[in-house]
């Protein structure tokens, strides 16, 4: 369908009228834009312009890298695996599903004391929270307290949407598989006194503030949480319904922080989630002094079916987060390479200039 014919040609086509016939010329405007003469900065990436940049990058990156690396190294972190697959492990007994509830205790020693706030994480391995079927198996409207979504959860929650003809609250695979081990920490303060001192673990402040206060909301209704969740049933794998997650009403139902933390699906199959906070008492005493500790585990969460591991991590923190030497090392590496290349370039540039100088002279 090539119809390039334009009827307009008929009207005003043809060559220009005889000179003098029209006053209007077709002279294009002499503007900077139309003449492509806009004022412009014209940088060129030559060795000359790049050289200083390389040195500067080197000079900036290396100190930053060292700083980050040192910061990261000052962070104390201890990781205790309590999966119990090894026969020697105290938690080995809990692998069989018969023992319920199964409580096991693991001893560990802190060589150095942990100063400042200490954060207690649980870590899972080989657990694919990022599986597509899993990630989308939730209903954000329900979690936001929407009454209609509460009783009629999204189809994405299948097959964890209804149980025995009642809607599940909270629905979906993520909620259903919520981590339910209980971890407790005891300090054996001195050898003479064997009674362990429990370390106070704070449940609040482990979830993002916005999640806790905006994104997650209990359904509206009466004072009683149980009433608000009327007509729903608990997730299949849960022992208790959602409104009994905690005795504190501000931390129960959908706004339970352990639940919220779990609901933020991890990016990778090996992940940590914040479990508890151990707040610094005062400046005089370290939060966790060096010494022997008990970790008391109520072992509920099965991971051996998919070769998973469970860990408990205690970590202090800096302004930039937990212990992660990668960033510091990367900065130092890139900085050094940059500096090195700067030197190489300087040499090459020098040589090249000499050559071209002679070339210039010969002509």
């Amino acid at each position: 369908m090539a119809m390039n014919y334009n009827a307009k040609d008929e009207v005003d086509g043809g060559p220009p009228c005889p000179p003098g016939g029209t006053a209007k010329t077709r002279r294009p405007d002499n503007t900077a834009f139309k003449q492509q003469r806009l004022p412009a900065w014209q940088p060129i990436l030559t060795a000359g312009t790049v050289l200083p940049t390389f040195f500067i990058i080197g000079l900036i990156f290396i100190p930053i890298g060292i700083g980050i690396f040192v910061t990261s190294n000052n962070i104390r972190e201890i990781e205790i695996d309590y999966t119990g697959t090894e026969p020697s492990s105290p938690c080995n007994k809990c692998l069989s599903p018969d023992v319920t509830p199964c409580i096991c205790t693991i001893n560990f020693t802190l060589e150095k004391s942990f100063e400042g706030n200490v954060f207690m994480y649980y870590g899972l391995s080989n657990f694919y929270q990022n599986h597509r079927r899993y990630v989308k198996s939730r209903d954000d409207s329900q979690l936001n307290g929407d009454p209609s979504a509460l009783l009629n959860p999204s189809k994405e929650c299948e097959p964890y949407r209804r149980n025995e003809d009642k809607p599940i609250a909270p629905c979906g695979a993520i909620a259903n598989s919520m981590f339910n081990d209980t971890l407790e920490l005891f300090l054996i303060s001195n050898e003479s006194d064997p009674t362990p001192v429990p370390i106070p673990l704070k449940k609040k402040g482990i979830a993002w503030w916005t999640d806790k206060n905006v994104k997650f909301r209990n359904p509206p209704g009466g004072e009683n949480l149980e009433e608000r969740f009327k007509g729903t049933t608990k997730p299949v794998n849960w022992l208790k319904p959602v409104y009994m997650l905690d005795s504190d009403i501000d931390n129960s139902g959908f706004v339970n922080e352990d639940f919220i933390v779990w609901m933020r699906t991890a990016a990778l199959p090996t992940f940590r989630k914040l479990y508890r906070l151990i707040e610094r008492k005062n400046d005089l005493h370290p939060t966790l002094p060096a010494g022997r500790y008990y970790l008391n585990i109520t072992y509920n969460y099965p991971v051996h079916s998919f070769d998973g591991r469970k860990r408990m991590i205690l970590s202090t923190i800096s302004w930039m987060g937990g212990k992660n030497p990668f960033l510091g090392i990367a900065y130092i590496a890139i900085g050094s390479i940059s500096f090195l290349l700067g030197v190489v370039l300087l040499v090459i540039n020098h040589k090249y200039r000499n050559n071209s100088n002679t070339a210039d002279i010969t002509i």
């Binding site: 369908m1 090539a2 119809m3 390039n4 014919y5 334009n6 009827a7 307009k8 040609d9 008929e10 009207v11 086509g13 060559p15 000179p19 002279r27 294009p28 139309k34 492509q36 806009l38 004022p39 412009a40 900065w41 060129i44 030559t46 060795a47 050289l51 200083p52 990058i57 954060f119 694919y128 599986h131 597509r132 079927r133 990630v135 939730r138 964890y160 695979a173 259903n176 598989s177 993002w208 916005t210 999640d211 905006v214 994104k215 990016a267 990778l268 914040l274 079916s305 923190i317 930039m320 987060g321 992660n324 990668f326 960033l327 990367a330 900065y331 890139i334 540039n349 090249y352 002509i363």
Partner: protein, 1096 residues
């Protein structure tokens, strides 16, 4: 279906018979036996769409594009099966692209509708039922008698019935049809010419029989059967009685004509049909790249699917306790699941095919082509002509020209014609003025030669005063003489001559003939033939256009025979042309030679420089001309196409095949024997056709080894054939054809890029070209500056698009390895959707409109830079691979950088809280948007405020948008995955450090490659950039201003440098030779370049 559509639009009208019978004023015979033929109405439809069919038809046309269709399929797949991204992610960009294109096309069609309406609704006067009726143009029927007043345009193809003059003649200009500016005389048959009033016309009973519509403007055959007093008179009708739609009535008060062809069947409408689409080399490589990416896409999808099923073989990965399948998923058939998994991966990775590439390229071409029209350097003050872009699809092709053919007249434009000599001009040149319009003092002639001759004759005292009716008046030295014009034997290219038969005041009848010397001299039996031949050759050597003039005297007996035979031939319905040719042949013999004339064609200014520049740019120049051998060679020498130092080889006057082959072989041998000298080849039309018939390969071989080729005595179609031959030769060069005349049109359309010169010889070439310029010298700016820029721009545009989509999708692919190939997306769907249409679209578009990697003056003064981009170098597979690999490595850096940062599963926040998978994706995405934008910034050499605005604006927009998008719980959205994710990410110090680190690392690779390339083996373009700004290097060397003062110092010096560099000849020629040692052996070129630059 297609045929039906075409028929609806007025093409392919069903032809029942070979002739159409038209009853004038639609007075059908009364006997009732006759069924009138049906004709279409006079509506002109140039628009494609109507309000009703716009949506379906436009959609249909858009989805015929492979890329759009592909995205439509992806979109449908997303609608049908369970895919990782919502249909919106591909539906929205597709919708965007389709809408933008539809708006553009709809707007263009609206303009066409408007002009259609204007044309169809124009008022016309039609004779109906004895009176003059005012009606609209579209209501004219075949057979209607139409009245046209002075300076009006004919609304349909009319057969002239009568004019206000007694002889029934009128003058028209067909400038808008074929571009010829002269006035043409049309005549009515004598029987109708007397019917000058409406009342008289009403008594006319006549039938016109003529051929069915055809596109040839100059062919019309028919006859008029007039019934007068029960007697039928048959009159022949030829093109001289047909007034074409689109032509304009001049110098005549009014005419009456009967419509024979209407609407889409008019010759004008038929002529504007089908221009074949030209595709640029860039588009071809773009399609290659698309195919490569499609292969990458499909293989990624296949790999993912296979790996997915390998993993899933184990129950614990396929369906762990925490992540059960639904009954439905469990029960669906395995094959179906496999296919739907494959499709899901396809959908997940489909963004690797850049959806907005086409729309961006289209916008770039559309907007970019304005700059050509706007360019003041391409504006010709005297003729008030600016450059025209007829096809914006080829801008970048201007940067790719390898071969270059120009028709010679292009160079030798005619507005400075001078007569150099009129030899032995005895009787005066009355005859030649037969085709002149008498109205003004100024002469209008159908060819500049005629005009020049008449003017020159006037200068020596033989003034052509004018012709009234059938006589012509010539004032010879003040004395008026009247010649009666009896017959005109029109010019045609086979005879290459024209003649007139006139009756002198004394009553003698003469035939005067003028034509090419080869067509006149053999016919001569008397006169100073030998002397004239020598003169003609001399003139030709000087580059003049020569004509020979001869006459013949008739006895009255001879004349009667001639008169009768001419009449018979002219009224014949069948084979009229052949019969006429026979008669002409019979008449034009036994001539007595009068003499010869020569007309000098002045070359346009700077032709020589332009041709030199073209050659230096690595473009092979061929000259194709209809001129004779000697003229062509001498003009070639004068315009620099041939050098004095060149070894000129000739392949002319070949009579037979074998002779031609032998000559070719000999030439080939000569070329190999002395290859030091440059060779030029001269071929003439007849030898060329011989050479092309049997020895194409050998001929092309010889041509390739010659630096200049000149083909003379070429017919228009031969020119096109030469181009086709070059196009299909093994090197597959890109060809450019330049021409100005109607005879160059076929060549212009055949070449990859056709350039028309808007000359006095008409605008047909300009109209059929892809680009039209006013002067030949503008070619150098068009090619070396605009062509170079457009090529660089679009090449980078295409490469960048592929690059940024590799960056975009590869992390997605890598992520599958960490999520059990479950097709989990890394980025949120809104980011997926907006990446190409918002976050990264503008910088590249602006770059592709404004980029000037090097100063235009340098480009124009150093044509050799053009070699840097020849052979589609920036879109070669090597460059493409570089960009693709760069894309992949950047993607690896984003992904694994983020992986090591987050994947070490330590907290990144100062309060110990953890990030999830969406934060991870957002981190990758943020790094990507910044890197991809800054990468564009690295490519940009020309930073105007607009570039700054869009580059930094894009990044800022991304941040602002993300803050906004993540700051609200969006109602109506199913999931709130991104709620506060971006803000949390930005509140992490580590994330900031990581972003900076990753961006720097990514660009590090690229900067290194650029710098080392430039340092170790710079292209001449890069060297030229350096000369432009070499101050900055000196700056570092002396360390005078290192590091903080460097920028200011450099900018000042750069400015100085530019001021000096542009206008000092010594400087430029020095830098020239320094950067092009390759050319130093060629003295002549070097000196020229110095000359050239000093003119600035």
């Amino acid at each position: 279906m297609w045929r039906w559509v075409r028929q609806q639009l007025g093409f392919d009208p069903p032809h029942q018979s070979d002739t159409r019978t038209i009853y004038i004023a639609n007075r059908f015979p009364q006997n009732g036996l006759y069924t009138p033929q049906k004709f279409i109405d006079n509506r002109i439809i140039s628009s494609k769409y109507t309000v009703w069919n716009f949506v379906p038809k436009n959609l249909f046309e858009q989805f015929r594009r492979v890329a759009n269709f592909y995205f439509l399929i992806i979109f449908l797949v997303q609608l049908m099966i369970d895919t990782p991204t919502s249909p919106i992610t591909s539906g929205l960009p597709l919708f965007f692209v389709i809408t933008v294109t539809a708006i553009k096309q709809g707007y263009e069609d609206w303009l066409r509708h408007n002009s259609d309406n204007e044309v169809n609704g124009a008022p016309v006067y039609v004779v109906r039922s004895g009176g003059l009726v005012k009606t609209r143009s579209k209501n004219i029927r075949v057979g209607d008698i139409v009245r046209i007043a002075k300076d009006e345009i004919f609304p349909a193809d009319l057969v002239l019935l009568s004019s206000d003059r007694l002889d029934g003649s009128c003058h028209v200009t067909t400038a808008s049809l074929d571009g010829e500016t002269n006035l043409k005389t049309h005549v009515a048959v004598p029987e109708t010419a007397v019917l000058q009033t409406v009342a008289n016309l009403d008594t006319l009973v006549a039938v016109i029989e003529c051929q069915q519509p055809e596109a040839d403007l100059y062919r019309f055959m028919g006859r008029m059967i007039i019934t007068q007093q029960m007697e039928e008179i048959v009159r022949p009708l030829g093109p001289e009685s047909l007034l074409l739609r689109g032509a304009r009535l001049k110098n005549t008060k009014e005419i009456f004509g009967v419509a024979v062809y209407t609407g889409m069947e008019t010759k004008m409408a038929l002529n504007y049909k089908s221009k074949s689409q030209k595709r640029s080399a860039v588009e071809k490589s773009m399609n290659t790249f698309l195919i490569i990416y499609l292969i990458i896409l499909i293989s990624e999808a296949i790999i993912s699917t296979i790996l997915k099923y390998t993993w899933q073989a184990e129950e614990k990965w396929d369906e762990p306790w925490y992540n059960q399948k639904t009954e439905h998923q469990r029960n669906s058939s395995k094959i179906l699941r496999f296919i739907s998994d494959f499709l899901a991966f396809l959908v997940l990775y489909n963004f690797i095919i850049p959806i907005s590439l086409y729309v961006t390229v289209e916008m770039q071409k559309f907007l970019g082509s304005f700059f050509i029209g706007w360019d003041l350097d391409l504006y010709h003050e005297e003729s008030d002509q600016k450059a025209q872009v007829n096809t914006s699809d080829l801008n970048e092709e201007l940067g790719q020209i390898k071969e270059h053919d120009l028709f010679f007249k292009a160079v030798s434009l005619c507005h400075t014609v001078q007569i150099s000599s009129v030899q032995t001009d005895g009787i005066g040149d009355g005859p030649w003025q037969s085709s002149l319009a008498p109205s003004q003092l100024e002469y209008y002639a159908s060819s500049p030669d005629e005009k020049a001759l008449v003017e020159a004759a006037a200068r020596i005292g033989i003034v052509f005063v004018g012709n009234t009716e059938e006589t012509m008046e010539v004032k010879i030295l003040g004395k008026l003489e009247r010649y009666k014009l009896l017959h005109v034997l029109e010019f045609d290219s086979d005879r290459r001559r024209m003649s007139v038969i006139v009756q002198a005041p004394s009553g003698e009848r003469f035939l005067f003939a003028k034509g090419a010397e080869s067509s006149i001299l053999p016919k001569c039996i008397g006169g100073e033939i030998e002397k004239t031949r020598i003169h003609v050759d001399e003139f030709a050597l000087k580059g003049l256009r020569t004509l020979c003039v001869a006459y013949r005297q008739f006895t009255s007996k001879e004349y009667e025979v001639i008169d009768r035979r001419l009449f018979e031939a002219r009224t014949a319905l069948q084979q009229r042309e052949e019969k006429l040719a026979d008669v002409f042949h019979y008449i034009e013999k036994d001539l007595i030679l009068l003499g010869a004339t020569a007309v000098e064609d002045r070359l346009q200014d700077k032709v020589r420089e332009t041709i030199e520049a073209l050659r230096m740019a690595g473009i092979k120049v061929w000259v194709l001309t209809g001129d004779k051998h000697e003229t062509a060679v001498s003009v070639s020498l004068s315009c620099g196409h041939f050098h004095r130092t060149m070894n000129i080889l000739e392949l002319t006057n070949q009579k037979s095949d074998s002779e031609c082959a032998e000559q070719l072989r000999q030439l080939a041998r000569r070329i190999t024997e002395d290859h030091v000298i440059q060779h030029g080849l001269v071929v003439d039309g007849t030898s060329l056709s011989l050479a092309l018939r049997e020895h194409e390969k050998l001929f092309m071989e010889v041509c390739r080894n010659c630096s200049a080729v000149l083909c003379c005595r070429m017919a228009p179609l031969q020119k096109a054939k030469v181009i086709r031959l070059i196009k299909i030769s093994p090197e597959k060069p890109i060809t450019l054809a330049v021409g100005d005349g109607a005879n160059d049109v076929s060549m212009i359309q055949e070449a990859h890029v056709g350039i028309g010169i808007m000359g006095k010889e008409g605008r047909q070439a300009a109209r059929n070209s892809d680009y039209a310029i006013a002067r030949f010298k503008f070619l150098s700016k068009l090619l070396f500056v605009h062509g170079h820029f457009y090529y660089i721009r679009i090449a980078t545009l295409v490469q960048y698009f592929f690059y940024k989509n590799v960056c975009f999708i590869t992390p997605q692919f890598l992520y599958q390895f960490y999520c059990l190939f479950s097709q989990q997306t890394l980025y949120d769907s809104v980011y997926l959707t907006l990446y190409n249409i918002c976050f990264t679209s503008l910088p590249i578009l602006i770059y592709s409109l404004l980029e000037q990697h090097i100063d235009p003056h340098i480009l124009q003064n150093k044509p050799t830079l053009y070699r840097d981009i020849s052979k589609n170098r920036l879109l070669s597979i090597k460059t493409f691979l570089y960009w693709t690999i760069l894309g992949f490595s950047h993607a690896f850096i984003f992904f694994f950088g983020s992986y090591f940062l987050i994947g070490k599963d330590a907290s990144l926040l100062g309060n110990g809280q953890m990030f999830g998978n969406w934060t991870f994706g957002t981190l990758v995405f943020t790094v990507m948007v910044i890197t991809v934008t800054v990468k564009m910034a690295l490519e940009t050499h020309f930073w105007t405020w607009i570039n700054h605005l869009v580059t930094w604006g894009s990044i800022i927009f991304y941040f602002v948008f993300s803050l906004f998008y993540g700051g609200i719980l969006w109602p109506f959205l199913g999931s709130q995955n991104m709620y506060f994710v971006f803000i949390q990410l930005l509140s992490s110090g580590s994330a900031w450090f990581a972003i900076i680190l990753m961006v720097v690392t990514c660009l590090f690779l690229d900067v290194m490659k650029k710098v080392f390339d430039r340092q170790l083996h710079p292209t001449s373009t890069e060297k030229a950039q350096l000369t432009e700004t070499n101050s900055s290097i000196k700056c570092v060397d002396s360390l005078c201003c290192f590091p903080e003062g460097e920028t200011t110092c450099a900018s000042v010096r750069r400015m100085l440098e530019r001021v000096i560099g542009r206008c000092s000849p010594t400087h430029i020629s020095r830098s020239w030779s320094a950067s092009d040692p390759f050319y130093t052996n060629d003295r002549s070129i070097l000196t020229l370049s110095t000359m050239d630059s000093s003119t600035c």
